[in-house]
Symmetry: C2
Subunit: 252 residues, 2 copies
């Protein structure tokens, strides 16, 4: 298969390089990714600014492009220019989970969603522990998935958001289809003063895991299952549609 | 009402300042927004970096904070530190539409979605013409909405994504509840060489508006209606859930 790989942690991060090396054992792989983590800028910007792309000499056999764009930009540039007609787009391996409300802000997931706009099966993959990721396990899981899973059944505009427990491969208990949960963060800020007298804030947070759904994404990961959530680019809240229509009908 | 305002175009952009001035005629307003458009960085970053916040002297009566964070960070910092217990969070006025697939990448929308995580009614607002926005019309529309609409009916985890046609206020034809459409971009890249010999790419795109849904967001805007889409932070694709479960059950 022809596999286009991107991420949002940056092109030199261990997660993306481990994934590329693992998949290149069998597949034709190209990496097109942001030059650094800071590149995870909003989508709107690069509509009005150009994108630089530089070929790096990291591997002998795998072409790696470093760009000034976002993960979504990298997927566009990859498919439209550098690596046409890939069979699959994979975004990751992200350092840390993309579970619950993380998903909405995730550059990793948005890279995969971009692939679905082109009608190409697309996967976001994260190693679900920020401080102690296990990229080898996650890369091997994705390798397995490509061996055994028929990507063509994924509908357009839908991506797979995969979170792999950061444990040795042998400790994985299998695959579970899950829902994006209500897992969220209770944030608080610690104010400090920098050497120049300016106030700055460290954000800290406690995770809240109180979702009642037995198929909640984080529950699978906590039990050492690989969590696979089908995610859509469409976010209309249908359950509120009619009531809102009624309420707005009385407005001027 | 106490109104917290953010955006992703930056704290000095005309859209946010017009909105703040319009709403401050009646309400208590605070602006907390990214220092510049470039600040629309991904969410993951500011978990591990601090956020600076500086009070600007733009208005006599409206406090305005410029931060190094994302729109979502600004909402967090606003609610947790600078402006506790707002009655509503408003993100915008964005320069240009947030319609169809724009929504997934929109910093404006993510600012509003962040407000919903706190259980606070939240609105994203865009003036639906990038080159010729009409912020006065959009600001007056939001002012009207706050006068007449009961925000408390909005469910938690749901925000309103509002796109206001960039026409004179008198030409607006009213409000329409819509769905996020399949409106998307067909992109192509133009390669150039910079003075230092490096290749860079301008991305251009043609918009595709072929959605069959009569309630598609862009159709309302094209007909000079204000488009109001209820949007959720949850993006699980339920229609593919069972089939995916079956397919993955055969894996190792």
């Amino acid at each position: 298969m022809r596999i286009l790989i991107t991420n949002d942690d940056g092109v030199t991060s261990e997660g993306i390089l481990t994934l590329a090396k693992t998949l290149a054992k069998k597949h034709e792989v190209m990496v097109v990714a942001p030059e650094s983590e800071r590149s995870a800028v909003g989508h709107a910007i690069t509509i009005h600014l150009p994108i630089w792309a530089e070929k790096l000499s990291i591997f002998e056999d795998i072409p790696v492009y470093s760009t000034t764009g976002t993960p979504a930009d990298c997927v566009k540039l990859g498919i439209d220019v550098l690596f046409p007609n890939p069979d699959v787009v994979i975004s990751g391996i992200n350092q840390g989970p993309n579970l619950g409300t993380d998903v909405i802000y995730s550059g990793t997931v948005s890279g995969a969603l971009e692939g679905t706009l082109y009608g190409i099966p697309s996967i976001a993959v994260s190693s679900a522990n920020y401080l102690n990721p296990n990229y080898k396990t996650a890369a091997k899981a994705i390798y397995d998935l490509l061996e055994q899973f028929d990507l063509s059944i994924i509908p357009q505009y839908t991506a797979l958001n995969i979170n792999v427990p950061a444990v040795p491969y042998e400790e994985l208990r299998g695959w579970k289809v899950t829902r994006q949960s209500k897992r969220r963060w209770k944030d608080y800020f610690e104010a400090r003063t920098d050497p120049f007298g300016r106030t700055y804030y460290w954000m800290k947070g406690d995770v809240i895991e109180d979702d009642k759904d037995p198929d909640a994404d984080y529950k699978a990961v906590n039990q050492n299952y690989i969590s696979v959530t089908p995610v859509s680019i469409f976010i209309t809240e249908e359950n509120f549609f009619k009531e809102l229509k009624k309420a707005l009908s009385t407005l001027e």
